[in-house]
Structures are given as C-alpha cells and as structure tokens.
Symmetry: C2
C-alpha cells in the first residue's frame, strides 16, 4: 500500500512535490536541528487521491493519519484527547508552490470541554485556555462546516460591548468561557449537530477541509494568476501546537531574512507578545518591529537571528519565516523562500552572487520573470492602493498604472494632453482614427473589445496602460459621461486604471514611475549568456524598434504594416483603394501609399542597423479601415467622385458575420494581388536604398511574411507575386539583395499541412493568438462572456490567450515544427503571438525547438529571462 | 527516359489514368478491330510534367511527338506537310474523367496555303478543302492564340450578307478561299505574326494549347462541380482526320446506345450529312435523327449498329459515340460511357442486370450518387431551361426548382400560400419567426447569409428549394420590391429559382415534379446489401423523421433542439429565459418550455419506432432568439415587467464580434446549467413515457449530444449535470432506461485531445461544418467574398463545405478517430455535418472507419448508394 503520511523526521526535505513547500521545509529544519514543533505531513498525493475518489477520503488514509497521531504522541509524550496531558495540534495546508492565505488552517485542535478545563487548571492560565478553545471552535466551524466567521465576530463584539472594553485582549477567562459556549450553540444551530468532542473526528474532518480548500474560489484564482496546475494538490501538515498566547513570556511573529520590498540585507519582520499567529495578520493589534525583540527578549532574539542565518545559508535565498515563543522558548514554525518585489528580487539575486552564496546561473533561475513587468511600467503607490476600492473591472489589456481626467473623444485627449493634462481616454471602442489621442493619454479604457482589440494591441505596443472590454460601463458619449459601480463619471473627473489587474478606480490614485536598476542589467546580461532562444520584438515603427533595442531585442519578429496604414496622412488613400471599382483605380490609390510605406520601411531599417526584420503584409479585414462617421464618408465620396450612397453601399458590402474568419490576411492578396505588389515594392525599394550606404555585415535582409495561410497553393500564389515583383526591382536596380518569404502559422490547417507549406516558405512564425482562437473555437473578443464561468468551474486553469495551451494549441505547434522541418530542414521558426512574452510559453517554445520568440518591446526582458531559465532548467 | 507518347496500337486500353478516357478507348477500339482513324496519345503524365515545369513543354516531349508523327505517317501512308499526299490530323483533349466540351480541340491540322491547294485539286472538292482550311485557321487562332471566335464569325456573316445567303452551307469554294485569306490577315493583326505554315509548329503549339486548356475557367469550374482533381491532367489525342464534309456521301454524328434521358434500350442519336463534328453541336443546321440513316445509308447504318452492340457488350454500359462517314466509309471517332439522367441511370443499371450484362454489385457501382438528387426534388422542364437566361445567381443552398410569385414577408407568404398560390419568399435574411411563411413557400431567396444560414439549414431540412446570399440584389422591403440584373421585381411578379445551381430567373419557368421509380428501390436494396456504413438523417421533428424513414434512414444522427425553440408557441418563453436576471427567473421560464420540449421528444420517439436518435443540446448563441422588431421587444418587456430600454440593453449585451466563435454550444450549459437540466428532463421524461408501451426491442435509447466541446473538463461538467438529472428522474420513476452521453467533435482542439474526451464521452459525432470553418479559419457566411477568386486561381479545387477536405480537416478527423478509440475502444463514431450526404466524403467516412453518416433526409439515398460504392471499391 502506498504511504501517504510521514512524520517530519521521516519526510524528504528536498521533495516539495510530495510534501508541499511547508512540509518539505519542516522536515528539512527538523533534519538540520532547528527547534521545530514536531508533527507529520499528509502528502499532496493523498490530496490528488481524494479528488480522484470524487472528494472522498478513503478508510486507508483515515487509518494512516490516526496511526501517525499515535506515533506523534510517542515523540511528544502527550496524548491526543487525554484530559491530563493532552496533545494539541495545528492543521495547515502546504502546496508545492507557496500560495499564502489561499487555503485553510485550523489551530488548537484536540480541545474539548474536558481538555480545556484541565489545561486551564494545569497551566494556571484559564484565560489562555479558553481563548484557545473559542478560537478553535470558531476556526473549525468556519473551515470545516463553512459557517462563516461573521457570526462569531459579532458575538465577540457583543461581549466587548457588554464588558465595556475595546480589544479582545481586555477580555478575561470567563468571558472566553462564555463565548466558547455561545460558539458551540451557534455551531449547533448552523450545523444541526453538537460540536464534535472527539479529537480524532476533529482531525480527520479538518484534514479533509484543507483538501477541499485547494479548490475554493480564491485558490483557483491564485493558481490561474500564477500558473499553478490544479493537478498538484496540497499537502496537509499536522503539527504540535505551541502557544504564543500564554502570557507576556510568549509571543509570535513573522520575519524575512532580507527586506522583501527593497532587497536590503537586513532582518525585516514583526511580532506580537501574547498572541497567536492569526493576530499578527489580522491587524487588530499593531505588531512590533522585530528589532524591538532584541531589547525585550535578547536571548530569544539572538537565537532567532542565528536560525535565520542558518536557514538563509541552507536555502541560499531570502527566507520568510514564522516563529512562536512559548514561555521563553523559541520555535520555528515555518520557513520558505520569501515573496519579493521585482527590485528586491534583482538586488537579492545580485547580492547573493556577490556574497558567493549562489552562482550567476542560480541567480538567473531564481527570479520570477513576470515580476519584471513592475520595473517597466508605472505602478500605483502601494500605500494608496492598499485602501483603494475598485469601482469596476475590465480586461487587463496593457500593464501599468494610470491616473488622469476622463475624456470621451480622441480629439479631446489630444487637445487636453497637449495642454499638459493627464487624461484617461474612455471610449466604447477605439478606431484607427483615435491614434493620436491614444498617444496623448496616460491610460485607455474601453467598454467593448477584447485582448486583441484595437485599443489593446495599440496600447501594448506603446506601453500605455489599458483596460478594455469593461461591459459594466453604461456609456453615454453624447452627454460625455459614463456610469460604473453606481457612480457617474463626467468629463474632467479623475479616475485611475490598473492595466496589470484590470481594476478601475473612481478616484485619483498616485502613481510612481518605473525605475530600472538594482542589478537589472547584470541579470539580463547573465540571462543572455545562458539562453538559446533569440528574442525579438513586435514593433511597427522606428520608435517602437528603438524602444525594443533598449530592452535588448535582437530584431523585429513582427512589423504589422496595417498600423502604418492607419496614420492620418495615408488613411485617405487606403480608403480610396478600398472603395475602388477597378484594378486601375485600386492601383492608382496604392501608388499614393507606396512612397509613404517605403519611407516607413526606410526609417525602420535605419533604426535596425542590420537586425533581422519580419514584415507582415496587410492582415485585417478592409472594413477596419473605412470611415464610420458621416463627415468622413462624405469627404471620401467627394474625393472619389462617388455619391455618399455609393460609398455607404461599399462599406456595408464589407460587413462580415465573423470578421475574425473573414476576408483578411493573404486572402486579400489573392483577391487583390496589387496590394501585395505595392507592399513588395515598398519593402524592396527601401531595402535597396538603405543597403547602398551599409557595410556588408549590416545589410538589411527583409523577411516578408504572408499572414493567414491555410493552404500551400494560396501561399504559393502570393509568394509568386512577391518574388516576381522583387526580382524585377532588384534586376532593374542592378544590385544584389537577399530577402526571404515566409508565412504565419496561425490557422490549424496550416499547421496540419506544414510539410507542404515549408517546401515553399522559408520561415514560419507562429501566430498563436489566432491559432488559439481557431483551435479552441472561440473569439478572444467574445470569450470574456463565458471565460469567468470556466475559471470558476475549474474547466480552464489559465487564460489560453495569456499562457499557451500546450495540450491543444501546443500539439499543433509541435506538429507544424516536425512537419515543417521535414519539408525544409533549415526552416527558421519563431513565434509572434502574445505568448512570446509569457514565461511558461517561452519555456514551451524553447522545448519545442523554435529559433526565436517575438513579443511587445516591454516584454522583451521577461522573454530574455524566461528563455535563459528554460535553457538552464533543461 | 519516360515514354510520353503512344500510338493507339501501342497504348493500354484499360489505363484511363495514363491515356485519358478518349485515348484508352481509342486504343481499345483499335485492339478489337473497329474502324478507328489511327493516331497517337500524348499521356496525362506529359500534361502533369508540363505544369510541373511551370507550363513549359520540354524538348524531349517535343521530339517524341514529332517522332510519333513520323510513325503515324508510316501507318497511314501519308506525309505531314507533304503537298502531294498530306496527312491531316485532329488534336483533342481526353482526361481520365469525361469533361465534355470543357477543353479545346483543333481540327484539320496540317493545312497550309500549299497543301489546301493540292487537296482542293486532288479531291475535286475545293469547297470542302477551303472550308476545312478556314475552319482550321479559325480554331487554331482561337485555341492556340486566344483570339476569340467572334471576329471570325462576323467575317462569315459579312460574307453571307454579301452573297445574299442564309447558311454556311450555301457558301461556295471561292467564298471560303476569300475567308481563309481574311482569317489569316485577322490572325496576323491579332497575333503580330504570319499564320504558321509549318505543320510541326502547328502541331506542337496545339498540343500545348490543349494542355493549357486543362486550366481554363470552365474546366476548373467543371472539375469543382464533379470532384475531379487538378492533378490528373489531360491526355492529348492526335488522330488522322477523316472528313464528314466531303459531300453527300459523307457525314458525321453522335449516338447513344440507349436513351440517355429515359434509359430506354434503343439507339438514340443524330447526324448531319456533309458536315464536320462541330456543326452537329453548334446547332446551326438541325441534325437528322439517327433512324433516318437507316434509309439514307442502310449499309453504313447496319455497320454502325453492329459496332454499337460490340461496344456496349465490351464496356457493359451505355455508350456515347462519335462517328464520321467519309465518302461512304464509316469511322468510329470515339466512344465513352454516356452521361445520363438519374432516371436513365437507374433503368440502365437494372436493365443491364436483367440482361445479365453486369451483376448487382456492378449496377450499384456504376451510378453517380449525386444524380439521385434529381429524383427527389422538382426540376425545371428541360426545354424551358434550355432557353432561359438567369438574371442573377446566389448560393445553391437547397436543391430543386421553384417557380412562384414574389412576396416580401413571411406573413404574406403564409397568407398567399394558404390561398393556394405558389410563392417565392424573398428576404434580406430569414429569422426564426419566418418559419411558417417558409413552410408555405415553394422557394426561398435571401440577400445575405451563407450555406449554413438560417434560411439554408431550414430549407434543406424541409426539402424546399432555396437560393441564398445573393448579394447583387438591391432589396427594398418597404416598397416591396427588389432589383436584380437591371430589372425590378415587385410583389406578385413571377420568378424562378434553381436551388441546385443557385440560378435566379426573372420569369415563370415550368417545373416538373420528382418521380421516384425506374429501379430506385432495387438499386437502394442492392446498395444496402453491400454497405457497411449506417446512414442516419438529420431531423428535428416527427415530420422530418417520417420523411427520413421513407428515404431509408436508420435513425436520427442529429436532432437540433433549437429548431424546436423557434416555434411560435415557445419563442416567448425562450426570450423570457434569455432576458432573465437570476437563476430563479431563468428556471421559471425554462419550466414553461420543458413540457413543450418533452412533447416534441415524445412525438419524435413515436415516429422512430426504436431507432437510435441523437439529440443535440442547445447550440446557437442566444442572440439568435431575441426579437428584432420594436413591437416584439415591447411585448417581451411588458410580459417580463421590464422597460423597453432594459430589454434592448440585454439584447445589445448579447452582441458578439464573431458569433460563430462566441457564447454558444456547451458554453451555454456551463454558464447556464439550468438549460441543460431542463433539456435532460424533457429527453428523459419523454423516453420514460414512450418506453412504457414499447416492446423490449423497441425501447428508446436517447443519445444526448453535447455540442462544441473543446476540453474534456468542459464536457465532464455538462455530462455531470445530465447524468445527475437523468439518474434522479429514472430512480424516481422506478424504471430502467438506457441513455448515452456523447459529444460533437467540431472544434480542432476536441479532435486533438480526443483520447481524453473519449474517456468521458460514449460517442463522437463529427460536426464537419464547424470543424471545416475552424480548420480553415474562415466562416462559411463570409467566405463567399473570396472563394470565387480562390477557385479561379486554382487555389482550391472544391468547396470544402461541400466536399470534406481530407488533407486538413480529414487529418483532424483521422486523429480524433485514432485517439478516440484509444480512449474508448467501443466508441461509437458518426458524422452529422453537411458532408454526411456528399458521396466523396461518405467514401472518406467509410475508409476512416466511422460507424455511420447522418445527412438531411433528402440526401439519405445518396449516402446509402455512396456508402455501398465505398464498400465495393475498397
């Protein structure tokens, strides 16, 4: 039979998968001789088994837990449920990855009416004994029987009122005794049975409750935010209770071996005298700084510092520890690698290297890449954020924090912005015409649209904070106001947006600018030494390209040419092209765009200095470019000698039922080859011009990328147009110019037929945004309506648009990599979807053998670090 | 070196793949001693090579052709280009499958100024000689140099006018001589070079032109309509010219060994005296019935009849033959299995069995399953159709022919229909509310919407003719008129629709009712003996189910419950459910629907008599059900005690960017489990009721199908709801009831993770409509905008929504079949997409090992026959 329960002295301190982080570290601290209250760990495997058995704890496990209680009695020399020498224990969760506060805990277990009486007498401290008892009843009721905490808090408040005192600490033994009785009565009325007096029943039900708490809403949410799979399960630690609430010679506290906010090498923590752990966290009493302990209990303090140093040296990382002093004796209750800010993470890693505690590789491996986002975007002042309440929530479309005055049109945003005001642009949805106003805004908030909506894509590109798709907003553009969370916000009102969480605040929250420092460069340089994957950026302009270079990109993996089309100086010609009736008219309009587009490319190539650049041809459906407002339609009609009705007819003929799956991508080039001809002319002529003055090793080699291929013949058709046009220009110019023609793999069929496509395409770039949409069969813009229900019901553990779905989408990517390399062994492979900047997806890309990832400039450092970690961990 | 050219006497008459149908049959006729003008065949492989070489005919092939001309000279005893004894040849295409009239032909090749003079003298028939010459110049110019025919026809007309005659046959030798000169001058002005006098140049260029014609627009279109792959290529036959235009002892004709319209066993054909083949087809002169030949040339007639019998006995099928009489000598120019109507096909197959020419298996194998459509739907009178010109064209959404008076609202359609009028309902698009009007209409025409639009799906189900998505229509509902092809059609005007071609006629075309007979039952019975695949029908009501039974379905593979929701007596409750704010409200609305839905199922089960039935749970996005017109919105608001604005807000909140990929399918059941609960209650309670009075072997076993699964946990979630609800009902009723829970596989990710899903699902049904959309990344409703360009440019050869794309979608189906059976060896597998009624897709389903196909009732016979052929051919 499989063993599911281990004494701390039996468990393997290096096996967090089995014993959870807390269990493993308790075993390890026991092994190295630190003063740990002993106990045993019920493994994560037992939790998994529990879920496999449809949430039933089987008899074997029950028996094994009870056997281990007997063993523990032997170790401690106390007896569970014994009235004379009772063993009391705590029951705590402990998953593989630390999930602080997400799951449940029961303290003081083993008490009942009889036991409490005895310990009250024996200890001579009845106040302590009955305080413990009422705490236990309270926690057990809440955790095991789901009664909630509120009713108990109310009873305490009534008691305090009756006694005319302010704080729990002013209540006396008898008060707690009365409360215990009241609590039990409350339990009985809620649960319909007496409060259990058998400690074994208490124990087994509590263990099961901790298992259950693995799937409570906040744990599910936390796992999703932190990429923790539901399959891991949690371990449960049953540990001898030690009491910080036995009087003034007792206490409890938490401490970090270094400052978790700054990384400074200095003990950082707090404690409370005469308290249990929960009191420190609850914030009812204000804890003391750990430095004070030096004065109050100097010996205990010294012993604690010694233990801290032992632990930091042992784990070679900053430790987050809980301790309890029971009547002048120090116990270490827990240690773990501490959570930290990005700045602290960088500083600690560099310091540890300098202190020779770890090497560079370990330094790179220890930093959570997702933290880096904090360094690159403004953040809210943490103090202000602590008390602020969001009034609503949308999609966290582009990270960072923004605070400013509400405006309702892009024109207003531009005007106010020029005046030096901080503005937040609030729109139903943004359109290409809004570009300048978006540039001038501190933040962008939209009512409609998903993570790949115009607002989201453009904001991420610019590094501007954006929250989108907040459907709860009642938007009234005419009166320049919107309603949210029961409040009305008018033009000029201040609001704040958190683009990293999607939260919207109806007030002014101060922001702090991002600062890159604290070893950022050292960590990045070390990362670059270890990684194999190249990191490129998605950038559509010379400005973006320069930003990408600052962040260490090694080229551009995706230049979306349509964003160039949206600029005001050319949108007129684009619209003319779209509304053309004949090829000739279309060519005439395209001829106006060509020199502008050529200049765009020249500027981009200039910024690149010989880096590779992948230029994607026109991708979005044409209706995205047409004017929506009456005046613009009239202007367009006039300029083309058409009636307004003609233009409107054309616009309405562009309507699509499912634009995502409509007339876009290379389909445009198949129906209107002249568009591909124009784009090729611009790409190639720009390259010829720039290369003239460039050294041989800095020559531009444009990588022309055909989007949305689903069939090799379709790719071939467009490629033929490109090659024919390019070759003629090169020949006419009498120069040599290398260029490549490749494709996005973003449609399932392209992945499935990648062998054929690779025979024609020189490179693949996985467009995992669209590939995810098609593979799952849902549109990113619409999925918001049901994805929350999917998370709640545990159907999805993470957002497939943020983290690449390895099981489905990943299978297609692997298929395409394998087939693609069959078709062309030297096929260049990259990814340019949003996943290119997601650490776990970067790991996948490394493992599957891609050559590079490409992501938005602001995520380049994250990708560099994640790529290094993937290489190191492999 | 590979041999590309074979004399008829060398070629293998059984190898149509290599020699094409015509070439193989010419070789075969040569072998069995029929009077065939000799020649040689350039193989289909040469054509394929030509396209692989980027449309260049290589020197080796050129040389090989010219060598074979020398061999042919030896066989015939004439010399190519020789002025005294010239060899003249015809150049004809001949693909693997017969494609009559789709590719090009050049006759009389080998003529030039010198040769024509000699044969004019030698034959004593200068009229004939110059007629041949001008024909040659004309055909060569058109076929090889793409000059078009028109200018030549005009010159002939001028000549006739000048001479004051009506017919070509009244022109004289000198006239043709003049015309030849004019034609050559025309050639020179168009082509910019003299007309080639070298027969070798003429020959090689003509062969290449025939290769080229493999990819002309009409050939591409024909291939697409007939499932012929572009990779096959065409062979080219170079054959000694024999002349039917040498005077009254000469002639030419075509004949069928049996009547191709009725199948009657009687020679059927026409001929013309003193003519070349093209004249018979051109229709300038009215040909004589073949029976007349018996009187005019009795010996020739007898010889011909003898040959016909030899050929029919040899090929054991009805033959379509061309013959020429050159100065009293009969030549057989070609034979092939003749095209025929459905009725003829059935009769001929049965007759041949009765005549012991073939066995039953061969009879089943010889009928094109697509023909059966003709038998089941009304058709236009072929005579009327021959001269009618369509005024526009839409998607051929539901087959058949319809003629009636235009109405613009479903209410009018219902009212006029009740009065006994034939009406055609013309709508922008249809909605669920139009259902009664649609039922009352002879045909349905919509401006918007694709092959899976509401109109299309409902019409196919009802067997009503439907043309949809005709975007050229300018629709004016208010004034009750529409414009198309420059004409205005008002309410009450007659139009006609061909649902099999998509053609729209602005006039009254008489239709003829379908008649099932002529061996239909015999062929179907024989088919059922051979097929392995079961055939089910897609049917949503008892009426549909009965229709399906008539056509031989073995169960229902897809009952779409949402169609039940659209009926007028329940749509109000559906809308109430959609506009509910709370679960309780929703449950209240659902409670109104439950008994109605239960009754639907009871009626369906009654109709089934123990057949299997697959019931798909609610699939479409909810916005499809909400009212669109102001009055209905107000009604809804009143009934729910909401304001009109509230209801409008709810409706607008249901808007989706890409409804195809939105909140639908099982996603509805995840967010609103109460819908699945209600549907389960209806399905199970109905089954319990019906089974009470049923024998043990006729018990209903409902197959509950969860749509749109993309992840096993999602399926699991909904399945748990179903099972929990069902088990409780069964337990409460104290009965035993079997039921199954399975899923559609219609999303790529479901196919990719089919092993996991099969562990939970008891059956899979491939929803290849959606699977095709997701795999290709285009929406069926939008693809119309670019698919034509794709066909024209040869990117796609067939409509992937009509014929299953084996390379991409098929790969996913295969993957799902393999993985699915890994997960559950006894997994039941079927298909319920439109492909279930497409013969080539049925073959795929057979080969991939599905258990059944399910298609609309009217396609059941097609599927039965196709399934039998798949089994026979395997």
């Amino acid at each position: 039979m499989k063993k599911f329960v281990y004494l701390f002295s039996e468990a393997d301190g290096s096996d967090k998968n089995k014993f959870g982080g807390k269990g493993a570290n308790l075993a390890e601290m026991t092994r190295i001789g630190l003063p740990v209250p002993q106990g045993f760990t019920v493994t994560t495997e037992a939790c998994t088994q529990y879920y496999e058995d449809n949430r039933v704890m089987n008899d074997d496990l029950r028996a094994e837990i009870l056997e281990n209680i007997v063993k523990l009695e032997g170790v401690i020399g106390k007896k569970f449920g014994d009235s004379q020498n009772p063993l009391l224990v705590s029951i705590r969760s402990g998953a593989r990855a630390s999930m602080p506060g997400m799951m449940d805990t029961v303290l003081n277990l083993g008490l009942n009416d009889e036991v409490v009486k005895v310990i009250a007498e024996k200890s001579g401290n009845p106040r302590w004994a009955y305080d413990c008892y009422r705490r236990f009843i309270q926690m057990y009721s809440d955790v095991v029987k789901d009664t909630g905490k509120k009713v108990f808090e109310e009873l305490i408040d009534e008691m305090k009122e009756k006694k005319g005192v302010q704080n729990d600490i002013d209540l006396e033994a008898d008060d707690f005794k009365v409360l215990s009785e009241q609590f039990k009565a409350e339990y009985k009325s809620k649960v319909g049975a007496d409060f259990p007096s058998d400690p074994r029943e208490q124990l087994l039900d509590s263990v099961e409750a901790v298992f259950r708490s693995w799937n409570n809403d906040r744990a599910i949410y936390y796992r999703r935010m932190n990429d923790i799979p539901a399959s891991w399960g949690t371990a449960v630690n049953v540990q001898l209770m030690v009491f910080g609430n036995m009087g003034d010679t007792s206490g409890t506290g938490v401490a970090f071996s270094r400052n978790p906010a700054t990384g400074e090498k200095k003990l950082y923590g707090e404690y409370l005298i005469n308290a249990q752990g929960e009191d420190v966290v609850a914030g009812i009493r204000t804890p003391e700084n750990i430095d004070r302990l030096k004065e109050v209990m100097p010996e205990i303090y010294d012993e604690f510092v010694k233990n801290v140093n032992i632990l930091e040296n042992h784990y070679r990382d900053m430790q987050d520890m809980e301790f309890t002093i029971e009547d002048k004796k120090l116990y270490m209750l827990q240690t773990r690698n501490g959570k930290r800010t990005a700045a602290a993470a960088l500083k600690i890693a560099c310091d540890l290297v300098d202190e020779k505690m770890i090497d560079e590789k370990q330094a790179v491996a220890m930093i959570d890449p997702r933290l880096l986002d904090q360094l690159l975007h403004p953040q809210f002042d943490p103090n202000a954020l602590a008390t602020a309440k969001p009034v609503g929530r949308g999609l966290a479309a582009s990270p960072g924090a923004a605070c400013g005055q509400v405006v309702f049109t892009a024109d207003d945003a531009a005007a106010w912005g020029k005046e030096g005001k901080d503005v937040i642009l609030v729109r139903l949805e943004t359109t290409p015409e809004d570009i300048e106003g978006m540039h001038r805004s501190k933040g962008i908030l939209t009512v409609r649209g998903g993570m790949t909506s115009h607002a989201a894509v453009v904001a991420r590109q610019m590094g501007t904070c954006c929250v989108c798709g907040c459907g709860d907003i009642k938007f009234n553009e005419q009166d320049k106001l919107f309603e949210l969370g029961g409040n009305v916000y008018k033009e000029g009102d201040f609001i704040s947006l958190n683009g990293s969480t999607g939260n919207i605040y109806g007030e002014k929250l101060p922001t702090v600018e991002a600062t890159i420092g604290g070893g950022f460069k050292r960590i990045m340089d070390w990362s670059d030494n270890y990684r194999v994957l190249k990191v490129r950026a998605n950038a559509d302009s010379a400005a973006d390209a320069k930003k990408a270079a600052e962040f260490g990109a090694q080229g551009i993996g995706l230049c979306r040419t349509e964003h160039m089309f949206f600029e005001t100086d050319r949108i007129a010609a684009i619209r003319e092209m779209i509304c053309s009736d004949t090829v000739e008219q279309r060519e005439k309009a395209l001829a106006k765009i060509e020199p502008i587009q050529q200049k765009d490319f020249e500027e981009l190539y200039e910024a690149l200095e010989g880096w590779p650049v992948t230029i994607r041809y026109l991708d979005p459906p044409l209706h995205e470019f047409v004017p929506t407002d009456e005046k613009d339609i009239e202007k367009l009609a006039n300029s083309m000698g058409k009636t307004v009705k003609d233009v409107k007819d054309i616009i309405s003929s562009l309507h699509e039922f499912n634009p995502m799956m409509g007339h876009r991508g290379c389909r445009l080039a198949v129906t209107y080859p002249e568009i591909a001809v124009m784009q090729t002319r611009a790409v190639i002529k720009a390259a010829i011009n720039i290369n003239k003055n460039r050294a041989a090793d800095k020559q531009v080699v444009p990588e022309i990328m055909i989007p949305l291929t689903s069939e090799v013949k379709e790719f071939q058709f467009v490629k033929n147009i490109v090659v024919e046009t390019a070759e003629k220009l090169i020949k006419d110019a009498g120069v040599e110019l290398k260029y490549m023609v490749g494709t996005m793999i973003e449609i399932p069929r392209a992945a499935l037929t990648a062998d054929e496509i690779a025979k024609e395409a020189e490179f693949f770039s996985f467009g995992t945004n669209d590939l995810t949409q098609m593979t799952f069969g849902f549109s990113r813009d619409d999925a918001g309506k049901f994805l929350d229900a999917y998370y709640e019901k545990n159907v999805y553990e993470s957002d497939p648009f943020a983290r690449l779905d390895e099981k489905g989408v990943g299978k297609l990517v692997k298929t395409a990599v394998t087939l693609g390399r069959e078709g062309r062994p030297d096929l260049k492979l990259g990814i340019c979807g949003e996943h290119g900047g997601d650490p776990s997806s970067v790991t996948f890309c490394h493992n599957v053998g891609l050559d590079y990832v490409s992501c938005s400039p602001f995520r380049v450092p994250i990708a560099r670090l994640a790529a290094a970690q993937a290489a190191i961990n492999n």
